[in-house]
């Protein structure tokens, strides 16, 4: 029985230890020394122990096997060569996937036959006797955790089989037979055997979810940061006490209390930035994963690549890191797959046989940039342009600039690879990357020299919690618009508005022809409000992908930095908004999601 109370703690700990496992393995590939081996052994040993204590028997068995291999390396019985490290990395991957699965389904069991055999290959060398003892699955005689959980009346997670038996959908015997056959999920086996219908399994799984507890995200915070927050709160309460005292004795306007209010203001600012920094994480874990991706793809394609990591200590908001994971993997896969030439081609162009890919984190004021550069073949402008024309993404007569041509690789439906490879040709293009970065309010710039390499510079906001926003007035309501979404604010009274068709209006903004639309078309006043002002002399210029539009608003109130509040429940699904905030006046206000508005405009125009 899996102990559901301790499972989340175990999973967080295991993910962290597995990351360590990965980084040590990657180091071991280059330099083998006993310290690294000891480190690896500790990782394996820790996970083995803790998985056992939460009742993940099969999980523990796999780690145990890996630990045996590591022990033999430590004892110099086998050499830590590339083959062993590869299997250990493979094992790490299996365990990481397993951990992710366990978050949703606490009774999940992954088939481990293959990886166990791969690991055993290394144990077979020399001492076959010892192997026999270790092979059996009865590695842990007792099932720790199960009795404790029952005794202490905590919510116990029921496994799927139990639920099905209790609801009478399947007999105990049928479930037991299915479990014996289990190399796949129990539900699938039962459905195939015709015992239950897929619907029954579905509803049983829902019951299972209900009995499980809601999983909470956790984050590791340095004690120094936490202490500093506590310290600041202490200072704040001192200032608060001074002001309260002044109020009680009727001397609020005296110097001491005015000074206290000023000090409190400073402390609050410090506290805010310190509290924000609690969400920040260094880039090293993310970069390590990228290194791993490059290594795997390079091995697969037999390319020799050296990966250089820089600026791993730069910090970024946890959410931003999470959301950048897949896009970065995508860029790197592309770099290794398409960017780096084969050894033969490299030799012809007199380049070093080993290619270099640099992943760098750069801290700038308020922003963090991630730079990915390679010394591969570079982007071929002509080919990109002709491809884009061929796919109908650009009109044939267009004369785009170099930078504009590079940006075309982010267009949906664009893929320059002549043949699809298993690595980066999975039907998803780089447009996914662009979209993820756009959603975060960032930008991507590309530089490239044909034959010398390509560089992606991804600019990201370092935090999502505080935004610089333009406060606008629309139908007598105030809204916040993130500054990064606004290209420009235009005074429409000084610009001639041309009428094209019945509805269409356009302006000529310094030679650019832009369509004009009222923002209220997308955000009409609420049915209960009758207010509607007609004074529309200001427009904000917003762009999303290839559409740029001038959106008329009733007025601009000003610019201020706002604290973003997530909207909860169904409110978060109301279109046109990305969040809420409290304005300086104390009134609540919605944050307008301009890209979505422009997207709606584009679909309207079609």
């Amino acid at each position: 029985m899996v102990d559901i109370d301790f499972l989340p703690t175990f999973l967080d700990e295991a993910s962290e230890t597995l990351e360590r496992w990965e980084s040590v393995c990657l180091k071991l590939e280059n330099t083998a020394n006993t310290e690294l081996l000891d480190d690896l052994f500790r990782s394996a040993h820790n996970i083995k122990g803790s998985s056992k204590s939460v009742g993940l028997i099969e999980f523990g068995a796999l780690v145990h096997r890996a630990e045996d291999v590591i022990t033999r390396m430590k004892n110099d019985e086998i050499k830590p060569n590339a083959a062993v490290i590869s299997v250990l990395l493979e094992c790490q991957k299996v365990l990481s996937d397993w951990v992710e699965k366990l978050r949703d389904e606490p009774t999940f069991v992954l088939p481990t036959q293959q990886i166990l055999e791969n690991l055993s290959d290394f144990l077979k060398v020399k001492t076959p006797h010892k192997l026999q003892e270790d092979l059996g699955f009865g590695l842990f005689d007792e099932e720790p955790g199960s009795d404790i959980a029952i005794a202490s009346n905590r919510p116990i997670h029921k496994d799927l089989g139990t639920i099905l038996i209790e609801s009478g959908s399947a007999s105990a015997q049928q479930v037991e037979d299915a479990v014996k056959l289990q190399t796949r999920r129990l539900g699938e086996v039962l459905v195939d055997a015709g015992v239950v219908t897929p619907d029954t399994i579905k509803s049983a799984l829902e019951i299972q979810k209900g009995t499980g507890q809601r999983q909470e995200e956790t984050i590791r915070v340095s004690l120094r940061k936490l202490d500093s927050v506590i310290q600041l709160i202490g200072e704040l309460s001192i200032q608060h006490a001074i002001v309260c005292n002044a109020r009680d004795v009727g001397r609020v306007n005296e110097f001491s209390s005015i000074e206290a209010i000023g000090l409190a203001h400073k402390v609050i600012q410090d506290l805010q930035s310190e509290a924000m920094s609690l969400r920040m994480q260094t880039l090293d874990v993310l970069f390590q994963r990228m290194e791993r991706v490059c290594r795997d793809v390079a091995n697969q394609q037999k390319k020799s690549i050296q990966i250089v990591l820089k600026g791993t200590e730069v910090e970024l908001d946890k959410t931003v890191i999470e959301r950048m994971k897949d896009p970065l993997v995508h860029i790197l896969r592309n770099a290794v797959d398409h960017g780096i030439e084969d050894a033969k081609v490299r030799a012809l162009s007199e380049k070093d046989a080993t290619a270099i890919i640099t992943i760098e984190g750069i801290q700038t004021a308020g922003n963090v940039s991630i730079r990915i550069s390679d010394d591969g073949r570079g982007l071929n402008e002509e080919r990109i342009l002709s491809k884009a024309i061929e796919r109908g993404l650009v009109s044939a007569g267009a004369k785009p600039s170099k930078e504009e041509i590079y940006q075309m690789i982010f267009l949906p439906g664009f893929s320059t690879a002549e043949k699809l490879t298993d690595v980066s040709g999975r039907g998803v293009g780089l447009d996914v990357v662009k979209r993820a970065v756009d959603d975060l309010g960032g930008s991507i710039a590309i530089e490239s020299r044909l034959g010398h390499g390509t560089q992606f510079l991804i600019n990201l906001p370092s935090t999502l919690s505080i935004l610089n926003a333009v406060v606008i007035n629309l139908s007598d309501r105030l809204y916040a618009v993130p500054v990064q979404d606004v290209e420009e604010v235009v005074d429409m009274s000084s610009i001639q508005i041309e009428r094209t068709t019945q509805r269409g209006r356009i302006i000529n903004l310094r030679g650019r022809i832009l369509p004009v639309e009222r923002l209220a078309t997308f955000l009409p006043p609420h049915t209960n409000d009758s207010m509607q002002s007609e004074k529309k002399s200001i427009a904000i210029i917003a762009r999303h992908q290839s559409t740029t539009v001038a959106l008329e608003v009733d007025g601009i109130v000003g610019q201020q930095s706002i604290v973003v509040r997530q909207l909860e429940g169904k409110l978060s699904q109301v279109p046109g908004f990305s969040g809420g905030t409290i304005l300086a006046s104390g009134e609540p206000s919605m944050i307008i999601h301009l890209p979505q508005i422009v997207k709606s405009y584009a679909s309207l125009a079609k």
Partner: protein, 174 residues
Amino acid sequence: MQESSRLQAVSPIDPQGDVADENKYIIFSLGEDYYGAKLLEVREVVEVLPTKSVPNTVPSFKGVCNLRGQIIGVVDLRIRFSIEAPKAIRSVLLVFETESGAIASSVDQIASVSVIMPNDVEWRPNIVSSIPSKYIIGIGKLDQKMITLIDLKAVLSHDELTNIERSKMLAKEA
């Protein structure tokens, strides 16, 4: 200062003192009628706060308010349940914590917190009313009065708030 606007515990009419909390209901009025909601599900009761309406939402969605720095949506129960009555002089917000977050509903007045024992409730009655019957837990008897017990938490967590009929907005991808 906002702290003081929170109503202090409404006097519990609970002579026995040891009644299980599950049998306690918060009784409120909408127009001329009285309704009850499970007390345990109510996170807090606050005096009505200024709300700002939000475009692209249904008529019964009053808007958002600032509850001690948290942005909370407010559903107008009078409109939601099509209760026609002269406008209330004042109203009160019942704040619920649903699985997907906090949301409030506005009601006219809180009458009391009362105990209605299971025996005094007609469970899941089959009646036609302005409130969808799936949201009616039962009809409770309290001091000769009939109280409609509503599963307000379900109403608030299931209701869709999006209404894009009047705008040209694309619906949000789920």
